[in-house]
C-alpha cells in the first residue's frame, strides 16, 4: 500500500466512526456541553433525542396543522451589552428559531428566573426591552411564569421563551432537501454578537466598536422564501461553521466554503485574530445561513439586500457530493482544509 492509500484508509475508518450516532458517556456536565459544538450534539443526539423519540432535529418542530413550536433559554453574561440585552435576545432568539423553520412568528410565552437581590430597575429595563423587541418582531407575549431563587443561584436573571408560529405555505425547508450544486448564502457579516459579548465582559482589555447583531430574521426569511430555498438555519452558538457541519451531516453532502467571500467586519476580524478565534465559529443572533438552488442565488441575494440588516448578504460556497458529511474551506491563500465541528468552548454563556 502506498502512503496515500494507507492514509486514505485511515481517514475512511475515522469518518465511519464519526458518522455513528454519538453516545453520551461523559461523567459530568461541563461548560463544553453548552457550546453548541460536538459535545452539545452528543448530549442531544445521544441522550435527549432517543429519550423523546425525536428523529429530525431542527430549530422548531412542526406540530399539528402547520403549527411551529420552539423553546429557548437565555443565560447571557453580562445582561446588557453593546447592541442589545438579555430581554431583546430572549425575544429575537425564539422568533428566529421559528423564522428559519419557515414559520411566521405569532406568540411567545415567557419564563423569568430571578435572583434574590436583583435590582428592580434592571428587571424593568429588560421587561421593556422584551416588549419593544416583541412589538418590532410582530409577536405577542401571551403568557408567562416567574420564579425567584436564592442569591448566588442565578446570575441576576435567566429568561426562557417558548414560541408558536404558523408555517408559511411557501416554505418547504429541510436539511434533506439540500442537494449537490446548491449554493450557500449568509445573510450578512458574521461573528458580531459573540465578539460584542466577549469585549463587553471587559476581561480582555480590548476595545472596539462592535455591536451585537440581535434582530428578528422573519423579514429576511419572508423576503426570500420560495421553492428554490431548501433549508435555513440561524447561526447562533457555534456560528456559521456549526450550521454547515450540521447540514453536511444531515443531508449527506459535502460543503465547500470560499473563505475570501465570507463577509466579516474588520473590527470582528481583528478581535478574532488577536484572540485566536475563527469568526466562522463565533455566535450570531441575527444572521442566517440559507441553502438555495444555484439559479435562485441572484434573486435571493437581491431580495435579502433590500431587508434591514442583510445588506451584506453573500454567497459563500457550494454543496458537493464528496467527501460526505464534511465541510471544506478554500482559503484565500489558495489552499484547502477541513472546517470541523466546534470542540471546546471558546466563549461560554453568550446567549
Amino acid at each position: 500500500m502506498t502512503v496515500s492509500s494507507r492514509e486514505e484508509r485511515i481517514l475512511g475508518i475515522i469518518e465511519t466512526a464519526r458518522s455513528k450516532r454519538p453516545r453520551f458517556k461523559d461523567e459530568r456536565i461541563t461548560m463544553v456541553h453548552g457550546a453548541g459544538g460536538k459535545a452539545t450534539q452528543t448530549l442531544i443526539e445521544g441522550l435527549l433525542a432517543p429519550a423523546f423519540g425525536l428523529e429530525e432535529l431542527a430549530d422548531a418542530a412542526i406540530v399539528g396543522d402547520g403549527i411551529a413550536l420552539t423553546t429557548d433559554s437565555f443565560v447571557v453574561k453580562p445582561l446588557r451589552f453593546p447592541g442589545g440585552s438579555i430581554g431583546e435576545l430572549a425575544v429575537n432568539g425564539t422568533v428566529n428559531d421559528l423564522a428559519v423553520a419557515g414559520a411566521r412568528p405569532l406568540a411567545l410565552s415567557l419564563a423569568l428566573i430571578l435572583e434574590e437581590g436583583l435590582d428592580s430597575a434592571v428587571l424593568r429595563a429588560e421587561v421593556e426591552a422584551m416588549a419593544e423587541a416583541a412589538a418590532a418582531a410582530g409577536v405577542r407575549i401571551a403568557s408567562g411564569d416567574t420564579k425567584v431563587v436564592e442569591r448566588g443561584h442565578a446570575d441576576g436573571m435567566y429568561v426562557c421563551t417558548t414560541g408558536v408560529g404558523l408555517r408559511d405555505p411557501r416554505a418547504e425547508l429541510s436539511p434533506g432537501a439540500v442537494r449537490p450544486g446548491d449554493r450557500v448564502i449568509v445573510s450578512g457579516s458574521i461573528g458580531e454578537h459573540g465578539t460584542a459579548i466577549m469585549l463587553a465582559r471587559g476581561d480582555l482589555g480590548l476595545d472596539a466598536d462592535i455591536e451585537s447583531d440581535t434582530r428578528s430574521l422573519w423579514p429576511a426569511v419572508d423576503a426570500m422564501l420560495g421553492p428554490d430555498v431548501r433549508c435555513i438555519r440561524d447561526a447562533t452558538r457555534g456560528g456559521v461553521a456549526s450550521v454547515l457541519n450540521e447540514i453536511a451531516r444531515a443531508a449527506g453532502v459535502a460543503i465547500v466554503v470560499r473563505e475570501g467571500d465570507v463577509p466579516v467586519d474588520p473590527a470582528v476580524a481583528g478581535a478574532a485574530e488577536l484572540l485566536g478565534i475563527d469568526p466562522m465559529y463565533v455566535a450570531n443572533e441575527g444572521k442566517m445561513v440559507a441553502f438555495v438552488a444555484a439559479d435562485a442565488v441572484d434573486e435571493t441575494l437581491a431580495a435579502l439586500h433590500a431587508v434591514d440588516g442583510c445588506e451584506r448578504a453573500a454567497e459563500i460556497g457550494e454543496v458537493k457530493t464528496e467527501p460526505t458529511g464534511m465541510v471544506l474551506v478554500e482559503t484565500a491563500f489558495g489552499g484547502r482544509r477541513v472546517m470541523d465541528q466546534l470542540v471546546g468552548d471558546p466563549l461560554p454563556r453568550i446567549c
Binding site: 481517514l11 463544553v32 471544506l328 484565500a332
Partner: protein
Amino acid sequence: MKFVDEFRDGTLGQKVAAQILGVVEPGRHYKVMEVCGGHTHSIYRYGVDDLLPENVELVHGPGCPVCVIPMGRVDDGIAIAREPGVIFTCFGDMLRVPGSNGTLLDAKAQGADVRMVYSPLDALRIAKAEPDRQVVFFAIGFETTAPSTALTLMRARAEGVENFSCMCNHVTIVPPLRALLESPDLRLDGFIGPGHVSTVVGARPFEFIPADYGRPVVIAGFEPLDILHAIHMILAQLAEGRCEVENQYTRVVPYDGNTRALAAMAEVFALRPHFEWRGLGFISQSALRLSDAYAALDAERRFSVPGVRVADPKACQCGEVLKGVIKPWECKVFGTACTPEHAIGTCMVSPEGACAAYYNYGRFARDRVVA
C-alpha cells in the same frame, strides 16, 4: 486587516510557489521540519501544503508548548487546583490536557476554581482583586512566553502580592532540537526556525544546526506567505550549496534577540538540571524553574505536589509525532480512540499540536472533492 492580509495574499503565494518549483530538483525528495507548533497550525489552517510541489514534504517538529507537558505535571497542577482556597489559572488549551486522572477542566467541573487567562498579568490581577485567595499561575511555553511570566513575577514581588505564585513549566528550544538532531532515524533537509521564540532569543542560538549538523535554518513568521517564503529560502540554500541560519522574519526578529527580555528571564529563572518532556523523556538543562531569589513565589514550594512521574499511555505515540518520525495519522489511536474532544495524547489537544491540526484541518483525501 492591514499588515496581516498582505501576508495571506493568494496571488503572491502563487508567485512564491512558482519560485519554489524553480529551485527544486525534480527527482529529489525534500523533508523540511517546521520546529514550531504555530507554524504547523498555520500550514494546515491556510493549506500551505497545497502550494508546494509533491516532492517537498513538511515534517512537524517538537515546538508545541502544550504538547510537551508530561502527565505528571498536569497531575501536580490539578493537585494544587484542588487545594482549598486556590484559584488556579492557566492558558485555555492547557485546560484540556489529560493527566493520569482527568484534565483541569474535569477538576473544574468537580468544583476546583480553575480559570482561563490570556496573560500571566490577568492572573496577577485576580490575585490583587481576591487577596484572601491563593492564586496560582500554571506557566507554560518556550522562550516566547517565559519573559511575560518573568515580568509578571517581577511585578508581583515589587508590589508585594503575597497570595500569588507560579508553577513553572517553561522549557527551552535548543536542547530538544539537539536531541532530535542526534537521533539516528532522522532524515531532514532543513528547518523552518521558530519565529516567536527567536523574537526573544534571536537567530544566533540556531547557528549550531548548520555548523554541527549541516542543515540550513530559516527563521520564519507565522503567516502563510512567511512560511512559503522560508521554504523557498531553505530550498534555495540547498540548490546553491549553502548552509546557514537566515532570518525571514526580519520585521520582528533581531539577530541577537531581545536583550531586555533575556535579562528578565535571567533574573527570575534558573535552569533545571533536567526536565521530562512528553514523549521525548528526560532532557538535561531543557527547562526553567524559579530562581532562588523568587523562591517565595514558587508554587511548587508553597504547595505540596505529588511530583510523581506518570508514564505516557501505552497506545499514545506523541513522542514519535513530536520527533517527526511518524505522521499524525500513522499513530495507532489517531482519530478513533484519540480525538480533540477525548484526547489521549497532548498533540491532539493544543491547536498547535500536529495531531489536532491534522485532525481539524487536514483530515480529507484531497482528490475526493467532487462536484
